[in-house]
Structures are given as structure tokens and as C-alpha cells.
Symmetry: C3
Subunit: 203 residues, 3 copies
């Protein structure tokens, strides 16, 4: 997988999450600026937390294309929110793709910086979730961490399988592709069959 494909995959992930942030702004009937703010926080929040913790330059400070993608996604959503909301099913699948992309790309970034595997897995959980978590805290909504669906687990499946594949095949591009597919399939199975981990029961 050439570098360019990875780069555009990252932007696509940002766009997907930015749209979900802008839709939250639509729900609250905010103005166009509110759309842009929530699209941006949701689109780049997870990567920002990842980069701060890893101690590397924050991605969107280095590359303003990330911000431009969020702004474009916000404006698009402002003018087409009705049509997007009617395609709710499509959104769920786009979000599953964003989750798979960000979990594997976050893990790969940490791994190539020499982080411990456990730290790399943590980054694979933080990158796709912290943008939405910040959005939900700002909106006083229940963050995904409290929801029973297989979401964070799908992110972990992407992280763990990336580390496994890179160890087995020593080919970064192939490993990224296979790991993204794994995470997407886990999330897809969870969506289709509404899978959940068993809940803790108070005795």
C-alpha cells in the first residue's frame, strides 16, 4: 500500500468522524460555526490525544489539510444534513470504517515510534474513540465507553491483529490492510448481530 493511499485513508477517517460531529451540532440546532467546531473536535480529537501522549508533533499542527477536511465536512453537513440523516445506515458503516482505520493507524504510529505493544494497543483505542468522547462530554451525552456495544473491542481487535501480522509477515502495508479488514469485520459482525460482552452483575 503506497504512502498516498494511507494518507488519504487517514483523511477519509477524519472526514467520517467530522461528519458525525457536525450531525451532533445539527441535533442541537447550532450555527455554522458550531458545526465546524464539533466537526473539528470529533475529527481530530483522538489523534490529538494520541500525539500528545506519544510526545510527537500533533498531526493537524503539522498538516493543515486535517483542519480543512473537518471544515469541509462541516459545511457539507450544514447544507445536506437532512439527506445525511436519512442515510443513517450508511453512516453506521462509514463510522465502522473510520473506527477500523484509526485503530490500526494509531497502533502503527505508536509501534513505529518504538512503543511497547501494550502502549500501541492503548493508542489504537484512544485514536478512534477520544474525538467522540470529547464531543459527548461537551454535549453532556453518554460517551461510547459507557455503551454496551462492541466498539472499543473492535478497535482492540484491529490493534492486536496489526501487531500480530507485523510480527508474522514483517510487511507494514500488508499488515495494515489485513488489520483494518479484521477490525472492520469485528465491528460489522457486532452491528449485524448486535453482539455484546457480558455485563457485570451485582450480586
Amino acid at each position: 500500500m503506497p504512502f498516498d493511499l494511507l494518507y488519504y485513508a487517514g483523511l477519509a477517517g477524519i472526514a467520517v468522524f467530522a461528519i458525525s460531529g457536525a450531525l451532533a451540532a445539527a441535533e442541537k440546532e447550532l450555527d455554522i460555526l458550531g458545526f465546524i467546531l464539533f466537526a473539528t473536535v470529533t475529527g481530530i480529537g483522538g489523534g490529538t490525544v494520541r500525539d500528545l501522549i506519544l510526545g510527537v508533533e500533533v498531526a493537524w499542527v503539522a498538516s493543515p489539510m486535517d483542519l480543512k477536511t473537518c471544515i469541509a465536512a462541516a459545511i457539507l453537513t450544514y447544507f445536506a444534513a437532512g439527506q445525511i440523516i436519512r442515510r443513517q445506515r450508511l453512516l453506521v458503516w462509514m463510522d465502522a470504517m473510520g473506527l477500523a482505520l484509526f485503530s490500526v493507524l494509531g497502533t502503527a504510529k505508536a509501534y513505529h515510534l518504538g512503543a511497547d505493544p501494550l502502549v500501541a494497543i492503548a493508542m489504537g483505542m484512544i485514536t478512534p474513540t477520544f474525538g467522540s468522547i470529547i464531543r459527548d462530554i461537551l454535549l453532556d451525552r453518554q460517551p461510547v465507553l459507557l455503551q454496551p456495544e462492541i466498539y472499543v473491542s473492535a478497535a482492540i481487535s484491529g490493534s492486536v491483529s496489526y501487531l500480530l501480522f507485523i510480527h508474522l509477515f514483517e510487511q507494514p502495508d500488508l499488515s495494515i490492510l489485513l488489520a483494518i479488514s479484521t477490525a472492520f469485520c469485528v465491528r460489522a459482525a457486532a452491528i449485524i448481530w448486535d453482539l455484546r460482552l457480558p455485563k457485570f452483575k451485582r450480586l
Copy 2:
């Protein structure tokens, strides 16, 4: 504008936001330590997030005068909260001055570190707002991002006009002064005439 004036302007901005944080503590009837904590979080929170994202030393770690200003503002508010609250109108104008100062100083800091203009504008939005946002999250209040008034837009007007003026005149001090005036006037107009951006309407 000499360096000292900028330095004291920055401290004045911290003091204004710290007082608004301490007043939130007064509303919750916290103890003196609660006043200091909320004054500090509100006064330096925005600058902290800005410096972390820019990857530079956090301002209040380098200069303890920032913390001292917050503590002094908290103690002052503890003993004079009643009188401050009666001057609500004055507070709104002090807050408008803090907003104008922090938006332009945040943009200028990012610009002089070589950041992309879009990133510099983002810093002009983060610096005056994230202190209040953290305060409101801690207090479970509706953060300013969700409010319909022209507040973040006024911060943007300060950021954009700073970048415009520095491009046109190439004089940092004059540009800072003009941009602060611009942001203050935009916010003042919004206060006086209760201006708002049009809200998104669900169809």
C-alpha cells in the same frame, strides 16, 4: 507596544478569566480552595491547551506569576464576591477584553512559531475559550460552544484580523493592537445588539 505592555496585558486577561472562575465557585458555595482551583483552571486552562498542542513549554510552568495572578484573583473574589456580582455589567466588558486579548495573543504566539494560518486561527479560538469550557464541564454547565451568542466568532475576528494586519503592515505591535480592537468591537457589537449567527433549522 513594548514587551512589558504585552506581558501585563496577558496577566490582565488571566485575572479577568480567573475572576469568572472564582465567581462560578461562589455560585456553588465552595470553600476558599475551591475558589482558587476554579480561578486557576479558568484563568490558565486555555493557554495550557494551546501550549500543549503547539508543543512548547506551558506558559505557567515557565512563569509562576500566572499562578500567583489566579490565586490573588480568587482571594479577592472570595472577599468581594457580593460587590463583584453587583457589577455584572462591568464583568461582561472585562470578559470581552479578555476574549480579545487571548484570541490575538494566542494567534500571535502560534504565528511566530511558524504555524499555518489555519492552525494560528484555531489557537486564537482555543486560548480564550478552553479555560471556561473546562470550568463548565467540571461544573456540569452548558459550555460556551453551545451558546448562540457571538463569542467564538469574535475570537475568530481577532485571529483573522491579526493575520491580515501582520501581512499588510509587517508590524507585530501595531497589528496586535488593531486586532485586539477589532475583536473587542465585534464582541461589543454582539453584546449591545445581541447579535447571533443564524441557527441550523431541522427540516
Copy 3:
């Protein structure tokens, strides 16, 4: 006090806070992954914020034993939550020990990096409290900053006494030991006699 003792004291502090995070997950009846997530956020959140603000490598990125401690504490709590909850009294005292440890270790870390005393005290407040604060924000619970008990004040007593002892005795190990005892005694007194600072009264 040899280095190893300090290292294990730090891990013990992480374990105590991680258990309190996992118990919050038990209260919400989350799955095993939810236990791990809340244990981790609570156990290492405060140290993460401290290290980010000080501009040093985040502790758990450098040492994966921190993450392993949180995961082990979460699994232990998942299978023994009932018994832990029945020992509520023990938990309060373990939390007091975690508070004393983290406040002094956080202050000592900042002090040895050359930070201003006021900044070192701020780190002694951030390290033991921000993990719980992030947990409570995620769970939409009232964070400790809003509670009237002597908690943050006990952290300050540990910070201030550490700076005093290191100035008087110039012996880091002895100072850490004495300061931890001080903070623990202040918190213990607050627990036993239910001490509070006077609340601000609106006139």
C-alpha cells in the same frame, strides 16, 4: 528509602486508584473491558496530565508496568467486586494512602525537574486528583473538586511539607517519607472527624 521502594509505592498508588475506577465500572454494570478502561483512566490519568504539563515523557508510555497494574486491578475487581465493596472502610484508607503517595511523588518529580515551588505544589494537586476527575466527568458524577471534604487540601499538605522538608533536611528519601506521612495524617484526621473548610456564604 531505596529507589525500588519508591517504584513499588508508585505502582501501589496506581493500583489503589485503578480499583476505585473499576468499582465505578461495577456500579454502572459495564463489561470487563469497561472495568479495564475505567481502572486505567483513574489509575494513570493524573500522572498523564502532570507529565504532559511538565513536558516530560508520559510515565506509562515509558513503563508498561503501569498499564499492566491497571489491567490486573480491573480483573481482580471484576471477580471480587462484591468482597471489595463490603470492605468500603478499607478502600477509604487505601485511597488516603494513594492520595498521600501521589501528591508527594508528583511534587517531588516537578521539584527535581527544577519547577518553581508553586508549580510543584500544583503538580502535587493534579497527580492524585485528575484521574478521578476524568473518571467522574466520563460518568457524569460530581468530581471531587466540588465536594466539601478535606481532600485536595490534604494533597497540598503533602506538597508543601515535602518542599519544606527537602529545604530543611536536604534528604530526598527522608523528606518523601515524612511528607507522605503528613499528607496521610491530614487526610486521616479529615476522615475520622469529618473536617471541612468553611464554605463561602452568599450574602
